[in-house]
Subunit: 343 residues, 4 copies
């Protein structure tokens, strides 16, 4: 099967190239970009020399559908909502890595993304697919979760599902590497700004917040708000999501741990750390894993959960392939189980 990538020059587009090249069923089809038409991929990205030498071109939906079996939108927010319609109309499989189709409610999208939402019919058709929450083949319009949202939901879900927490809000403290901010140039992504620095940004204003709430609400209707902070740390890849939750009286660390293993033991990409051990960021970089560790403070009744992912893999392109695998009815880890680079 052949995959087209729209937005191949962004970080998640390049990561799709890397991962698709290793996939046993999917192969690279055509590569597209809105800005870098008719350049060779290896000319733009010398790491691709001798490996992927394809011309990056503009696209028409007809062309893409004629030459490929599926299309990935690895575009910033605002593109899919304008450009996905012809593919959807033709029932051509689309996996969208942007935020455009994640929120069912257009007004919420408008509030958090500061853009006009996608057409209601498109939103209705789109299926939000966090693989660890799915049990059947998705349809032909897959909305891939956000990076912070993936880390937050996987870190919190078993707690919410098993009804182990008090009514006080969940507090998420997320830290991300700079690829999370995309390749757009800004003072805040200049090397001189980032090195030897750490910055909290978008305090309770990150656009993944409604996505997280919406998913967690499926497990507990009363969960209507979360507390959510995001920070940049001077690394290239990776999200460390720390969750603080007030646990119900009497619930033990072992019961909590059991809730996590019950949720994830049958899934390929969530690895629970042994009790007493927390995951380091670097152990998932380059992989599709979400590694989770936890510890209960019996004095305060507060649980700390730490979840780490690679924002470009499990937080974006790897998860998109995991969704492809589910869609194609392959094992969810097909092509995604390589030993990562370490150290």
């Amino acid at each position: 099967m052949k995959a087209a990538i729209i937005g191949v020059t962004g970080y998640t587009g390049l990561e799709l190239v890397r991962l698709i090249c290793k996939h046993p069923v999917l192969e690279l089809g055509t590569l597209h970009s809105h800005g870098q038409h008719t350049k060779n991929s290896a000319e733009l990205y010398p790491h691709l020399n001798d490996l992927v030498e394809k011309t990056i071109i503009g696209y028409t939906p007809e062309q893409v559908m004629a030459e490929n079996d599926i299309v990935f939108f690895a575009t910033p927010a605002g593109v899919t909502k304008e450009e996905a319609a012809p593919f959807v109309a033709a029932n051509f499989p689309v996996i969208d890595l942007s935020g455009d189709l994640r929120l069912k409610d257009g007004a919420t999208y408008q509030k958090w993304y500061k853009k006009t939402p996608a057409d209601a019919k498109l939103l209705k058709k789109a299926q939000y697919c966090l693989p660890e929450l799915m049990d059947k083949k998705p349809g032909n319009l897959i909305s891939n979760p956000g990076c912070y949202a993936t880390a937050a939901i996987l870190t919190a879900m078993p707690l919410v599902k098993a009804n182990l927490i008090e009514a006080t809000p969940l507090i998420f403290d997320g830290k991300s590497g700079l690829t999370g901010a995309g390749k757009t140039l800004s003072d805040s992504s200049h090397f001189v700004t980032c090195a030897e620095n750490m910055t909290m940004y978008k305090l309770n204003e990150h656009q993944h917040i409604p996505e997280i709430i919406s998913v967690l609400q499926q497990f507990d209707k009363s969960l209507t708000n979360i507390h959510f902070t995001t920070s940049l740390i001077p690394v290239k890849r990776g999200i460390m999501m720390t969750l603080y939750a007030q646990i119900k009286k009497g619930v033990t660390e072992n019961e909590i741990y059991a809730a996590y293993t019950a949720s994830y033991n049958h899934r390929a990409f969530v690895r629970m750390q042994p009790l007493g051990q927390l995951p380091q960021l670097r152990q998932v970089v380059g992989t599709n894993f979400c590694d989770i560790g936890l510890g209960l403070n019996v004095q305060t009744g507060i649980l700390t959960v730490v979840g780490v992912i690679d924002n470009l893999v499990k937080g974006a392109s790897g998860q998109a392939l995991q969704n492809f695998n589910l869609w194609a009815q392959l094992d969810e880890d097909t092509g995604l189980r390589d030993v990562p680079m370490f150290p």
Copy 2:
């Protein structure tokens, strides 16, 4: 006045050298180390060539007292408790940067530091001096606060003092650069381990926890526990302390902000950020400032407070000089107000 430094080859010892050289009243006296006797400071540390060329030697208390007016212990935990007695007996001024004299209760020290505590008389004589909480000249045995403790206390104190928080525990999420871990060699401080990584460690087990509780209890007897996590981020200097606190119903962000300005407006080294702005780590590196910003989430009722310090300056050697200034009845910012290196 002349200052002796015991433990000059550690990070805080070297930072004392830097800061004392800029101080208008204090000057470098004799430099001591337990391990590097009779080496020239500039031979060990080429940045000191032509600036500080003094022989680093072992010491006897008699010598130190004969040639200096005050002594700084910039030693790891476990040294002062064994070696401070002769100075104290002679009523010679001592500023201790280690954790040995911070906890009044020996048993608590033993539990958290895993060492036998200092003699009870020594503990009784020692005075814990966080300058922002002091209003008069300290005595001759000053215990300098810990780096995480300084950041945590300054970040939380106005809230506790003004009685603005619910009974739920304060949650501190602290991140530190690698100088905070000291120069001791370990896998966890190897460049290859730290670069492109972030690691949470000592979950609710950091030895500064009882110090923080003990200080905050002075403002609210009912505060008996905190939730406290610590992480290493790949920077050399700096602590970012994030505090999450459930605020009492009806308390506004402006009231909270007013509590902070009331606590700190008359102090030289706490700079409140304007509402709507959080401090970045780099803006305090190299300085004795603690910069604090905050934001209230009206949906969740949770307040986020972010405090940043340089762990080697406000978290150690700069604060020791600030304490010296108070002891010498100088302005607290004497010698400590340089514009820092930026960027």
Copy 3:
């Protein structure tokens, strides 16, 4: 075929694990370490959870030979020379990643490595295998080149071979990331020492110098010395080798470029950059490529050649597998052509 790894807990050992897991013919056999007996690989290295969970054990040669088809020594200098004999005696295939068998002359080894050399018979039997210089299947005792040596030789060889340089010495200016220094703890590999720093070390004293001279002499007997400096830069992986060479009068940049392409066009892992373009370090990280770019200064007659490799892949474990491929008469790039992580 099954591969044993002796010294699996070092950086090159772990990299062998990563690469062997992707190899279509070779698979992981038994894992050995001199220091970490009977620990599970995933317990020591959480990134291996669910991927490689094997007990790391001590070894006897008999065991290793009984359960594997080939053995890789990923050990520091000094081990192979003591431990390889039983394997060699049994004609069991050995690939040695250490420096022990690279120099034919024991006295030279002793001078540069400061250790007693391997037995003369072992040295005689060992075959130094830089794949790009080989045209037939190697024997059963393969000595894998050093990381700096690989970069230096590939960067200089076509010049020497085509006789394009004046008699003045070649000047190599090499820079390496910290994995090149190994995982041994020292002040010079502490994060606080390395970050925001660059250090030149072993000026004309690096132990790879005689290895480089010895290989280049095969192409020009008169080449008896090189000028060779090595520096640490604050990155984890990668060597950038810069070569300065005085070019014979009248030789053009195009002729030089042609010499390089003639040497490498038929090889899988040397990628010549187009004229006018130099390779960046990051474009080879994680790969077995050596990317080379060059530029002739017509004013000075000096050629600059820049070669970049990943010291743990092309400089060590990837090259070892490339040698395995040659030994096993597979294509030299079997299992080694993945698109690398980028950025």
Copy 4:
């Protein structure tokens, strides 16, 4: 005396602020920027809160001259040549940190800077001031050397002056941190591009080349070319300049070393390392020092010299103040001898 800074929002402008605040004779006058009019310095740069709170404004020459005693142009190439004339006409003291007035020959400027040169009369009046080469008070139009040029000239000058080198070209291999590239946003200064990377750029095309040649020619007329490469390393501050020079037969390392000490022993800011020791980048960061170490390879006759500076201090703003000191007939190290931050 009061100093105006034009271009205060750039890296060298901010560094002037830092250094002037510590100077005992000079103080901050008015602060100017072409783009950030009427913002408070502390609003733009929170590290300046409570320290430097001045409005950054546009300027007219009249205003600047009325309120200050000297003006520093901390502007990119192309500004001074257009804006300095009124100050020069009034014989008002100007120190220019840009490249506009460094090259006496307008055509050379045009060739290397790709801009039209300054007026010939302005160029004639300007005095290129590398303090270590000066022995008397400079006039009122001071052209401050470039950062790479400072490092290169100080590293090479004693060799050239003492006539110790063969006729073969000097080879300079320079590495710089990212502040050297300025705060302009580009792919090449994005954190994700720079971290874990090293890039050589402007091979023999750096605009400091004619400046270096011009100065070295004052000591040896026959020196008409140099070989000069520049690379970016992932640090914020600092230049490491490595020089390779073929030494005349029979000249010993001690003689070479003596030439360096003869050149620099009477100067405040060049510190020769003991023979056998090379300077690390970090030992000069934050200081106005140039630290130099060297080693002669007796096999190849090639000398390695390593010089390190902080590009923003000795390479720009610190040197500008050193020039001010000479101009004001103060000791050249007035206000510039602080112990730097370490580590």
